[in-house]
């Protein structure tokens, strides 16, 4: 892909921060001992060696190997900022040169993993549109340098080329989500309730019957799940701050590891409003945003925690944020096309809650009765439109439509609609998308 002549090592450019190797070593040591601890818990340790000794060995070994590799890769990594692109040259044996044209940058995030944060360092993540290899990381930079570099990159991504404008741009805080609200929200979500009640029942049962070892097989996975939920929903969303700048919104969050994300207004591909079962009673909801490139790094649920736009909020604030990102969207006022009653064989309960609709600016799709999801896609971000029909649907004169967006939380599908309605919506959506692009 890259011409050979480009891979010649360049002696120009800037190195990342020298402490990178130390941080890298600590991260490796942490990963090594974490792996060991979990294998000790599951019962297969390192033969006869005592647990403490093997822990020390893996910790020390991880640290030494990590620091060595970290030092070498730091030695050979340089980045160059020029008029048209950011270039990162790296590699000890195999040289690699990655070029990032400014106009293809989707977003620039700053992440501070706990270890790096101790040293005042940060990782810069640059997202481009496209497959799984679209994220580029620069690790690690001094926090102030990372902020400077992000400002420069974002300014260039928006086509500003004038130099020397080093003033920190004005930001207005839209909202700070207090940690206790996030905690209450987590406690009231169904999967947390299930994991917590399950763990308690197992522990009580184990003590009651005295069969602790047998129950351990159930407690460990449930406990891990619980810990994951807490880490993802509470620790990572701690002190969630949403603010507004010139080019877009900024999110700052995290208790142990801090993350600072930017969402340029022009890069928003769609927004999903999620209303979990219990939250709906209180009028709470969660906002997730679709940015090209984010979801490729998602966890097993397919949704990266960085796609969360508001972890918990009420309707009024959510509407204000949506209006900010997609002007002219109106969720409940759009003319709706609901799934007909004869589609109930495909979704006995869910069919009642399904509809799609559109106004001049956005396409809206709603589904789900346990967790209600409303997807909003601005017309000018419509990637493609699909109409589908299987043999069973054909008998019932139903069809499914999909408005395609880049991979992410937004899934604007209208399943099992009346076939004539579906075709009309597909054709109308093409017209609307065309008008919006013009």
């Amino acid at each position: 892909m890259v011409p050979v002549s480009d891979v010649q090592p360049e002696a120009v450019g800037v190195r990342t921060h020298p402490l990178t190797s130390v941080v890298q070593g600590a991260l490796w040591a942490a990963a090594a001992s974490f792996g060991l601890i979990s294998s000790i818990f599951t019962g297969d340790g390192w033969g006869d060696m005592s647990a403490v000794l093997s822990l020390v060995i893996s910790l020390g070994g991880g640290l030494v190997v990590g620091m060595l590799v970290g030092y070498l890769s730091w030695r050979f990594t340089r980045y160059v900022i020029d008029g048209t692109e950011l270039r990162i040259n790296s590699g000890i044996v195999t040289k690699a040169s990655r070029r990032i044209p400014y106009e293809r940058i989707q977003s620039v995030d700053i992440a501070e993993p706990l270890v790096a944060r101790v040293f005042g360092l940060a990782e810069l993540r640059i997202e481009m549109a496209g497959g799984k290899d679209s994220r580029t990381s620069l690790r690690f930079l001094a926090l102030a340098d990372a902020r400077d570099l992000r400002r420069v990159l974002l300014a260039r991504a928006h086509g500003e080329t004038h130099e020397g404008e080093a003033v920190e741009e004005q930001r207005t805080i839209i909202t700070v989500v207090p940690p206790e609200r996030v905690m209450i929200g987590t406690v009231l979500s169904l999967d947390f309730l299930f994991a917590a009640i399950g763990s308690i029942v197992l522990i009580v049962g184990a003590i009651w019957f005295g069969e602790f070892v047998v129950a351990l097989g159930g407690i460990i996975p449930l406990g891990t799940w619980l810990a994951q939920i807490i880490a993802k929903r509470i620790l990572q969303q701690w002190d969630f701050t949403l603010s507004r700048g010139q080019g877009g919104l900024r999110i700052e969050r995290g208790l142990l590891s801090r993350t600072s994300q930017t969402i340029p207004f022009s890069r928003v591909q769609g927004i999903a409003i999620k209303e979990p079962f219990v939250w709906r009673r209180f009028g709470w909801l969660r906002l997730e945003v679709d940015i090209a490139g984010y979801a490729a790094h998602g966890d097993d649920e397919g949704v990266d925690s960085s796609s969360i736009l508001l972890p918990i909020s009420d309707r009024i604030l959510a509407d204000a944020v949506i209006a900010e990102l997609i002007p002219g969207s109106a969720v409940d006022d759009v003319p709706q096309t609901a799934a007909p009653k004869r589609s109930r064989m495909f979704a006995p309960i869910g069919w009642r809650y399904r509809w799609v609709g559109a106004n001049e600016r956005t396409f809206v799709a709603r589904e789900g009765w346990i967790e209600r999801t409303t997807s909003i896609v601005p017309h000018h971000k419509t990637q493609s439109v699909e109409l589908r029909q299987g043999p069973l649907q054909r008998r019932r004169r139903l069809a499914t439509i999909e408005v395609h967006t880049p991979q992410g939380p937004v899934d604007a599908d209208g399943r099992n609609l009346d076939e004539r309605d579906a075709r009309a919506i597909v054709l109308a959506q093409l017209d609307r998308a065309r008008a919006a692009r013009a």
Binding site: Q106, S384, E386, L387, Q389, R423
Partner: protein, 163 residues
């Protein structure tokens, strides 16, 4: 009967019947392996004769079904170039119609395996920023595939709307 999947304007361009031939050859390979295994069982292991017969019957059914499927599926493929979008349709049982605005295309792929090359056909695949788009048109004659790729690239540049 299927006005649901007709293009809003113009008619579907159909793909080459050679697609059916290629697919029939591809189906014939596993089918003949199964049939061969059945014949061997029939001849060599007299106690397992019924398994051999079953395998041969299975292979025959597979061959007949595959033959018919390849033909029907090839006839179901169609595409049409409108003013602003490319429309692709496919499927007999599970029908689909995808419309991709030219301005949304990120890149266009043309690929042809050894068998496809021997028959002079190729597959054109369109990629947008969405992984769901999955718009591929198999069985295009090589010249048409090249023309379509050039035309789509040209239109993509003319309509280009970014991500």
């Amino acid at each position: 009967m299927d006005e649901l999947f007709t293009p809003p304007s113009g008619t579907w361009q159909r793909v080459s019947p050679k697609l059916a031939t290629i697919r029939r050859i591809l189906i014939l390979i596993p089918v003949s392996v199964i049939a061969l295994a059945g014949v061997l069982l029939l001849l060599m292991l007299s106690d397992l004769r019924w398994i051999g017969a079953l395998l041969i019957a299975l292979a025959l059914v597979g061959a007949v079904w595959g033959w018919a499927w390849a033909g029907r599926n090839q006839r179901s493929w169609g595409y049409t170039e409108n003013d602003d979008d490319l429309l692709v349709t496919s499927g007999v049982m599970f029908k689909r119609l995808v419309a991709i605005p030219y301005g949304r295309m990120q890149f266009v792929d043309v690929e042809a395996g050894p068998l496809a090359r021997a028959y002079g056909v190729a597959t054109v695949t369109l990629h947008t920023a969405s992984a769901e788009t999955a718009a591929d048109i198999p069985g295009l004659p090589a010249a048409e595939a090249t023309r379509l790729r050039n035309r789509l690239t040209e239109l993509g540049e003319a309509h280009g709307a970014g991500v």
